[in-house]
């Protein structure tokens, strides 16, 4: 049985996050990086430039003047938004392929929904900057992509077992593959230099028993994962794991808030689609 690290070694050889994405992620974590540094990197990728300009010129930013220079756009977007833009762009290409047992395309829709929900919960309920949890959402199932690339048969075996109720997805993966996508995703994103909060959220997004704080990125990701699963934005057929009691209690307390989030989700998704979706 291969370990998560073995899988990753092979995966890194096979496919890696584009240089631009890794570089931008590192620069966001570096206090000394300047907007000019971002500009230098971004301008190498015409697709990113287009997307960035579209982002800052969208109603979301509500700027009175049209932004046409990269440097200005970088300033307005802010570093984290820029990083997320780059990450979405970079990851989108990896989520390709569709079959009965495992659909990478559906996984992409799931990831996007989780990211948007997580962002909404962070901002609207906890009053926190939603960019990090958005990133965690978009990237949290990358482990499945790695498994799909390297051990597709075993992944399908795990999915089948899960569908037939032979345990949680994580358990089924461990039985079939020897590791699970949360572990693989955690190690991979660690290599890419993602922030610590994002890393722990990815690692624990199937471990409902370990809720420490309701407002942590991990809790938010769990909630968003649960909600997206209930909304059928989930590529693997099988029972949805229940929410841990702390989070259930939290939702009960904030019914009105969650009602509003669910009400506003379609609008937010449309907005996100406009900002992030590819033109293909």
């Amino acid at each position: 049985m291969p370990s998560a690290k073995d899988l990753l070694r092979k995966f890194t050889e096979l496919k890696t996050l584009p240089h631009v994405a890794i570089k931008v992620t590192q620069m966001v974590n570096d206090d000394r990086s300047t907007m000019q540094d971002f500009e230098e990197i971004i301008k190498l990728d015409p697709v990113l430039v287009t997307r960035l300009l579209r982002l800052v010129n969208s109603p979301y930013f509500g700027l009175s003047q049209k932004v046409e220079s990269i440097s200005k756009a970088v300033v307005f977007a802010g570093m984290k938004q820029l990083r997320n833009l780059v990450a979405v762009e970079a990851l989108r290409g990896m989520f390709k392929g569709d079959d009965v047992d495992f659909s990478a395309q559906k996984l992409w829709l799931h990831s996007a929904t989780v990211a948007i929900l997580a962002g909404m919960i962070a901002k609207r309920i906890f009053g926190k900057d939603g960019e990090d949890v958005f990133l965690a959402g978009i990237i949290h199932d990358i482990g499945l992509i790695v498994e799909n690339q390297l051990v597709p048969e075993k992944l399908r075996e795990a999915c089948k077992a899960f569908r037939e109720g032979k345990g949680t997805l994580i358990e089924c993966e461990r039985n079939a593959i020897g590791t699970d996508h949360a572990e693989v995703g955690y190690l991979l994103t660690k290599e890419w230099g993602m922030p610590q909060e994002v890393l722990s959220a990815i690692k624990s997004h199937h471990q409902g028993k370990q809720v420490k704080s309701v407002s942590s990125a991990s809790s938010i990701l769990l909630l968003a994962e649960f909600m997206a699963g209930k909304m059928q934005y989930w590529p693997i057929v099988g029972p949805i794991e229940g929410l841990p009691p702390e989070l259930t209690a939290h939702v009960k307390e904030r019914v009105a808030d969650y009602k509003i989030i669910i009400r506003d989700l379609p609008d937010e998704m449309a907005k996100a689609k406009e900002l992030y979706e590819s033109d293909e």
Partner: protein, 594 residues
């Protein structure tokens, strides 16, 4: 995909009657006198704080009536208390209410009580909606706060960026400065190196010129001597050709040396009185015969306002004029060549004069005018083939004229001729110096020959040549091959003059001269030198050197010499210096051996 609802998502954890209960709670608070019962669509019973007791069939009947009716319907409780029921469409539930304080007839449709109750129910429902609005509002507030934070962070970020950029700029400026300093140092060093190389180059050239002049000395001297021996016609012709070629080679060597000196900034002009008419006359004399042979009219004109005698370097002025006239002669086949010195103006006590050499030669194309002043360049390549020349002459003239404080220029028209001209300030020579010079010139003519000369020279060929020339001038000659040998000769024999080569092995001319002067200054030593003890005046020593540089001459005088002669030895110059320096013995005629 249908739009998800909260209930669908959180079905497991949400009590379906949660909403009804919260409504009931609110209504309970609004109607403290009333007893309430809420029957959900599923038939679930929800009690208010004051409960109503019902038998099931009775209750179900009432609920059914209420669902069907529009408004309130009347019913009875178990305890026969009158109550009213109403269907609440928004909640899909039936509300049963009993209020003891309200009379029965007050419940009719449109009655005040019914309206009041309806309003109260609406209020309770709105309160519930209000909860949502409040939550919505709070979410908006949080989002606005985040945006404000982000905005603040953006400003902070930008400020940080600004500081970072400033730091980087400072760093860059610092690096730039140190880079400039480094490069300046490197350039300075390179410059020093180049200056050193340049110095070595001019030293090399000076040495080369010495090496070249020594054999030239022999060639010129011996061909001169050879031409004076009885020769057949063709032999005489060959000899003259040798002499002419040697002369032109020497002039080329001089040109190159001059240029090197000028470029090294080592050429210094003399500041001695000279006769301008004599200089022009000399030049004219040189070209009179070739002009006549070519059929070219040659004229000279000096403005009477230009001073006759001036201070300056007559040799260099002559060199420039010879060069210009030589060029004119070379490129002119018919017509005339004129030298003219014209008065221009007086400035700061100097007479600014214009020297021009006009010819009616082939002229220079306008686009080549600049090039002719360059080294090794003539108007075009074919000129070199047709007319010869090194192309050094004008470059030297240009520099010499500049040293004299003027500028050499040319006006030319192809086929019509050229005029080369320069304007330089002339300084009139003071009167007393003139008389001295003239006196000397007169004195020389009256000199008689005779006396003993010690020739100190290491080169055997030059020993022979110089010996022959000296003997011909009518003097006795003794030869020493270096300084030490010369001192030996002086110890045993008397001499009237020493011709001292500067560069020699063992003891060079400078050292020998210094020693002689030292011996002269010490009476005890002087006695042991036959050649020195009888002298009342210091022994005449004339330096001989192939180094034609000014500093070489100065060095000779500093070593104690009182004359200076450059090699190759020109007969006329030798004869002049000998007649100047040798004691004048009257009425003693020496036979010319040849």
């Amino acid at each position: 995909m249908t739009e998800p609802t909260f209930d669908a998502i959180f079905d497991d954890l949400i009590d379906v009657n949660e909403e009804l209960q919260s409504f009931l709670r609110i209504l309970d608070g609004l109607l403290p006198e009333a007893s309430l019962l809420l029957v959900s669509e599923a038939g679930v019973l929800l009690d208010g704080s004051r409960s109503l007791a019902f038998a099931q069939p009775l209750r179900e009947k009432l609920v059914q009536e209420a669902r069907a009716a529009d408004g309130f319907v009347v019913g009875k409780t178990e305890n026969n208390v009158r109550c009213h029921a109403v269907y609440l469409a928004k909640l899909s539930a039936v509300l049963i209410i009993s209020c003891a304080a309200a009379p029965d007839d007050a419940w009719g449709p449109g009655s005040a009580l019914a309206t009041l109750l309806q309003n109260t129910i609406d209020l309770a429902m709105h309160r519930q909606e209000r909860e949502m609005l409040v939550a919505d509002h709070e979410q908006s507030v949080r989002q606005i706060n985040i945006l404000q934070q982000q905005h603040g962070k953006l400003i902070e970020d930008n400020y940080r960026q600004y500081r970072l950029n400033q730091d980087r700029e400072k760093e860059y400026a610092r690096k730039l400065e140190s880079e400039i300093a480094k490069q300046t140092a490197e350039l300075r060093e390179a410059n020093v190196r180049l200056e050193e190389i340049s110095r070595l180059k001019s030293d090399f050239l000076a040495n080369m010129s010495h090496e070249l002049r020594t054999p030239m000395n022999a060639i010129i001297g011996f061909s001169e001597l050879l031409s004076e021996t009885p020769l057949a016609e063709d032999q005489l012709d060959y000899t003259r050709t040798i002499a002419q070629s040697a002369a032109s080679l020497l002039s080329l060597i001089n040109d190159i040396l001059d240029l090197a000196k000028i470029e090294a900034g080592k050429l210094e002009l003399e500041h001695l009185p000279f006769d301008l008419a004599e200089v022009i006359g000399n030049v004219a004399a040189m070209f009179k015969i070739p002009a006549r042979e070519k059929g070219v009219v040659f004229t000279c004109k000096i403005d009477s306002n230009v001073p006759k005698r001036n201070m300056g370097d007559s040799n260099r002025l002559r060199q420039v004029l010879i060069n210009l006239v030589g060029n004119a002669m070379k490129f002119t086949e018919q017509g005339g060549i004129d030298i003219e010195v014209a008065y221009e103006r007086e400035a700061a006590g100097r007479i600014v004069s214009r020297f021009s050499v006009r010819d009616s030669g082939i002229g220079i194309p306008a686009d080549r005018v600049g090039a002719i002043f360059e080294k090794f360049t003539q108007a075009d390549g074919s000129t070199t083939r047709k007319y010869g020349g090194t192309g050094l002459g004008l470059a030297i003239c240009l520099q010499l004229v500049e040293l004299m404080g003027g500028r050499l220029a040319v006006e030319s028209e192809v086929g019509k001729g050229s005029t080369f001209y320069f304007v330089i300030p002339l300084e009139e020579a003071p009167a007393e110096i003139i008389s001295l010079q003239e006196h000397k010139v007169i004195g020389r003519d009256k000199a008689a020959h005779g006396g003993r000369i010690l020739l100190v020279e290491d080169n055997a060929v030059n020993q022979r040549l110089a010996s022959i020339l000296i003997t011909r001038e009518g003097y006795e000659v003794e030869v020493a091959s270096d300084g030490a040998e010369a001192l030996e000769h002086l110890r045993h024999q008397p001499f009237d003059l020493v011709l001292m080569d500067v560069q020699m092995p063992n003891m060079d001319g400078m050292e020998a001269t210094r020693r002689i002067r030292k011996i002269e200054a010490d009476p005890a030593q002087k006695q042991s030198y036959v050649g020195l003890r009888a002298l009342t005046q210091p022994l005449g020593i004339v330096g001989l050197t192939a180094h034609a540089r000014k500093e070489d001459e100065t060095a000779c005088y500093e070593a104690g010499m009182n004359g200076f002669l450059t090699k190759p030895i020109v007969k006329a110059k030798l004869s002049m210096i000998l007649s100047e320096r040798m004691p004048q013995v009257s009425c003693k005629e020496t036979e010319d051996p040849s």
